[in-house]
Subunit: 232 residues, 2 copies
């Protein structure tokens, strides 16, 4: 069943939306705070999120930004605020749609259907906040990494590097790609960074030099070996 997470602090609106969704066979969960939303998305893996920007704790746009660090779940934003720059900001921070209150139930439902349509297109394999490659696990939401159930402590850059590789198991990512994704678009050729961080990662991941998880493709880039698809 399709799971919808509704994030709002107005009981009346919550009740109305829940009723409309439940009547159409959606599996509805609700939370009233931004922190609760982040937790619920990480734990519940909803198929779509309806997010009111006016939350008591964290600003809704900040919720978007944080969730987008590790999840592509579609987010439909609700807001009483019709200000253009607010809309633009929310959409640029990862929201997939922006509906201004008051809105009709029919429209909200239609926009949820659009979001779900995208999702089914984008990620046929359900997106998990935890990437697993062999005995390596990368929890994007909690910024935590384990190897064979042993916790590994990584710095932010180390984590970004590893998470990027883990998103494409077995695939070679070029020096340029990694540098641009982890360090930023203006770093294209500082491949010395990669050597340093690859070395540190191997040490922290306790890589066996004979069978390393993090493999160098000389002159090209780096990749994580994926035991599921190839042995080396």
């Amino acid at each position: 069943m399709t799971k919808v997470l509704v994030v709002d602090d107005e009981p009346a609106l919550l009740r109305a939306v829940r009723a409309a969704l439940t009547a159409r066979q959606y599996d509805v969960a609700t939370v009233g705070t931004g922190q609760g939303a982040i937790d619920a998305i990480a734990l519940g893996a909803p198929d779509v999120v309806v997010l009111d920007l006016g939350l008591p704790d964290i600003d809704g746009i900040e919720v978007c930004r944080r969730v987008r660090e590790w999840s592509d779940v579609p987010i439909v934003v609700l807001s009483a605020d019709g200000a253009e720059d607010r809309k633009v900001q929310a959409l640029d921070e990862g929201a997939d749609d922006y509906v201004t209150k008051p809105f009709s139930t029919a429209e909200l439902l239609a926009r949820i259907r659009v979001a779900l349509r995208h999702r089914n297109h984008d990620a046929p394999a359900g997106d998990d906040a935890v990437l697993a490659v062999g005995d390596l696990e990368v929890d994007l939401a909690r910024h935590a990494v384990t190897v064979a159930d042993r916790n590994v402590d990584l710095t932010p850059k180390e984590f970004a590097f590893l998470a990027l590789l883990a998103r494409w198991p077995g695939r070679v990512l070029t020096h340029r790609t990694i540098l641009q994704e982890v360090w930023g678009p203006e770093y294209g050729s500082e491949s010395q960074y990669l050597r340093v961080y690859a070395s540190q990662l191997r040490k922290k991941l306790d890589d066996d030099p004979a069978r390393p998880r993090l493999v160098t493709e000389p002159g090209v880039g780096y990749r994580l070996v994926d035991p599921a698809s190839d042995g080396g």
Copy 2:
């Protein structure tokens, strides 16, 4: 460059949208009719379509429906009509977003960015570009080569050489072509390199001298035998 198709019959609005998009380095095309839109999408393969529902010939929603029969291009609908059922209908017929006039340029641009973001997310998902020539497989993403399911370890230049040939199975690539693609534009005549690397590749690919995969065309260049089209 990102291509945007704008479909509208009001010259003033077309001008405004075109100006805003052009200023942001988009490649803009415009048409004024529904039939023109369908043709332009089929021929021009835009990255996103901005579609006004009020067209002189076909209804915009009908344009959505017809385009969706063969294309997933994101469609952002514009309309002066704020009626709920009209919105719902458009969204359910394949529109990805619905903006009611009057709208701000900033918001339209933000919604176009959202549409493009979706599109970009689709692409990298599934495809692993694997070139297959007979029992030889060249996985460009993994920089891995197998012959009859046996892994082959290649150096960067060897890989580039083989990948180039595998891109044109059965076709002869001249010395000059290979040198320029693999070694760079300033290498045009160092064909001794080719002999060395062809030799190393044959050894690593375990080529039978009687039926080599990598064939020399004397005085011209090299080619990979493609069992699918010719026997040798």
